[in-house]
């Protein structure tokens, strides 16, 4: 058996299907995308070679591209620094209450994560409807005049409302990760901290959080990747509007390629997007690897 696995042709035969899938599903499409990004193809009919013109335009004069990237950045910051601490605190609370209640609340918090994205988008568009939505109706109870805010249509609230929907949907996952981590925490670790005179704050910040560091780093990497990939909720609610205030890169490149008939330009956006996404993921992984090694 050992000889078999040392046999190069056997190794090649075993590895080949995986490599073939990667080549056909990733390398070749990316290669095509690079090729088309150097053309002015509309998606239909003939096209001409434009060199790096698409990239120059995207990087120097496409404010929507930069806006979409900055929105991705805002979403990453909110998920990492707002969603995760809240999810962690709630997970900690759930790990301390009776299992029956813990199960009940975990199910409640996880429901959005199992709902279809289309359902979630329709649900929140209706909740946030300025005239008939339950949100404005509820707020009107505490106001002298009826509240008619168009949460998804008003420039001041559109991005915040989108981020709320996305965080609402993803919250259950973060909670589940943290809760699972907390349940694996050895009891001795907490007891030892108590004996050493640590209070609950000290126990969490100096003992439990460092123990859960691998889980926290995994959650953050997932947050970054899912923020970069964010498309469906935006597409189904505002479509990136009003203007480009809620535009995200994945939606924008799709719209350019298939709505605006700028297939070449859309491919340029997708290539830059791949570069940014891979770069950012590597940076985040690098940060946590270094931190992990230090620990």
């Amino acid at each position: 058996m050992k000889r078999l696995f040392n046999n190069r042709p056997v190794i090649a035969a075993l590895v080949l299907p995986g490599i073939a899938i990667m080549v056909f599903a990733m390398i070749i499409p990316i290669g095509f995308s690079v090729y088309y990004s150097l053309t002015d193809w509309s998606g239909i009919g003939p096209f001409k070679w434009v060199g790096l013109d698409n990239y120059t335009e995207i990087l120097t004069s496409d404010s929507t591209f930069w806006r979409s990237l900055s929105n991705v950045g805002v979403l990453i910051l909110v998920t990492v620094f707002v969603q995760n601490p809240v999810a962690f605190a709630l997970a900690a609370l759930l790990s301390r209450i009776k299992p029956r209640w813990s199960r009940f609340f975990r199910t409640i918090y996880f429901i959005p994560a199992v709902l279809s994205v289309v359902v979630i988008a329709a649900l929140w568009v209706n909740i946030m409807n300025p005239t008939f939505g339950i949100l404005n109706k509820s707020l009107s109870l505490f106001s002298s005049a009826p509240v008619t805010t168009s949460w998804l249509g008003k420039p001041a609230t559109a991005l915040g409302s989108e981020i709320w929907i996305i965080v609402w949907q993803g919250f259950g996952w973060a909670l589940l990760f943290f809760y699972s981590g907390l349940m694996t925490l050895p009891v001795e670790l907490e007891e030892a901290a108590k004996i050493d005179g640590a209070g609950w704050w000290m126990t969490y910040t100096r003992v439990i959080l460092p123990y859960l560091f691998p889980i926290i780093s995994a959650v953050i990497v997932i947050d970054v990747i899912s923020s970069l990939k964010q498309m469906e909720i935006i597409f189904l609610t505002t479509g990136g509007g009003p203007g480009d205030l809620t535009q995200f890169t994945a939606v924008y490149l799709y719209q350019k390629a298939f709505v605006a008939g700028q297939y070449g330009y859309g491919n340029g956006l997708s290539i830059l997007f791949v570069v940014v996404a891979v770069g950012l993921t590597l940076v985040v992984q690098r940060i946590f690897r270094t931190e992990g090694e230090v620990k």
Partner: protein
Amino acid sequence: MKKILVALCAAAVLTVGASAQAKVSLKVGDNLPDRTSGMGLVFDTINCEFKAANPGVDMTIESYPDQPWQEKVKIYVAAKQLPDINKYWSFPGMFKPLIDANLVQPLDKPAFDKLGYLPGALESNVYNGKLYGLPLTADCWVIYYNKKLFRDAGVEVPKTVEDMMASVAKFKAKGIIPAVTDGKDAWPLVETFDNLAERINGNFGRVDAALKRTAKFTDPDFVQAATLLQKMATSGLFADDLLVSDYGASRNLFGQGKAAMYFMGTWEVGLATDANFSQEFRDNVDAFKFPVLKGGKGKIDDLVAWYGGNIFVNATGKNKDLGVKYLDFLAKRWPALAWEKQAGYPAQKVVARATDTPLAKTLLAIGADAKSTSGTPSLDRSNAEFKDAIQKAVGELVASIITPEEFCKKVDAAAAKAAK
């Protein structure tokens, strides 16, 4: 016994093979997801009749709302999977790229000339001297209204844009949304912009001139039109969720009696017969002409009208001859059936009937009264990039992210780029 079984199996295989061979599957793609009423129902009826007249033919239909279908066509073209027959749009920005890519089967124009098409209807589908598609509807931009809600709020049908704006407070006092339209997809806002511009300058040709660069979108008439459109949104004429309300949502708000007016084209003649809405609504729905502007040069009978929706045969499909046969069948059945079901305002002559709904009669009268028409709307007169730019800019305008002057600058820059 064994021999008999073998013979039976062979016979069965041959029969299945023969029937599979005989059935030709005609693939059809369209933008009519609702098959229970309106145009979707008419198409299904025609398809059934066509299949009955051609026993060896089966039809596979796929339907999407407008925007997803337009995107799907591009994806199908890229993947070389365009259906045999496609319901599409005849606008140069959308149709010509398909013709230039040799994807559209030319049709025999003289044969269709005999089928009662309205003046200019077939010509809207003629490119390079050849007929490439059949127009289905004559599309006019009108304002539908709910007579009961107007009565409840004490509002008369507006004669001027100023009257319409003045009605906002009365509707709101009664808890009625004054007007709705498909703001999420933005194109109805551009149609309204076109209409307002004409009401100011009295000349539909100005849009074309701006696109051909003999005029500019930054000229005062266009700035004034943009200012008015922005005012319509900020004064509360449109629903507060204008920019997130899509076609279905805005249509439902109107049909459910929540909104008093609905800015839309005459293809919505079926509102008066749509069983999804209450009898009270169906009895009260009517339409009026886009109002004039005090001091404006545009007249009430200058009509934003065009031949938009069409149908064409995929020239690269294996069933193109059968597709042409289907179009011929459709052209003969469509006008009578569409009018009978009040599903659309056909691009072919129809005879008004005593049983027509009041809405249908009004729409026929609006069309008959027209003294001048716009032709293709501004957003579809240029390329897809211009269309995307003007739709995005109009969204920013009504959300007050940009000023009317900035809107006009953006549209003008897009027109200049498209004209190069």
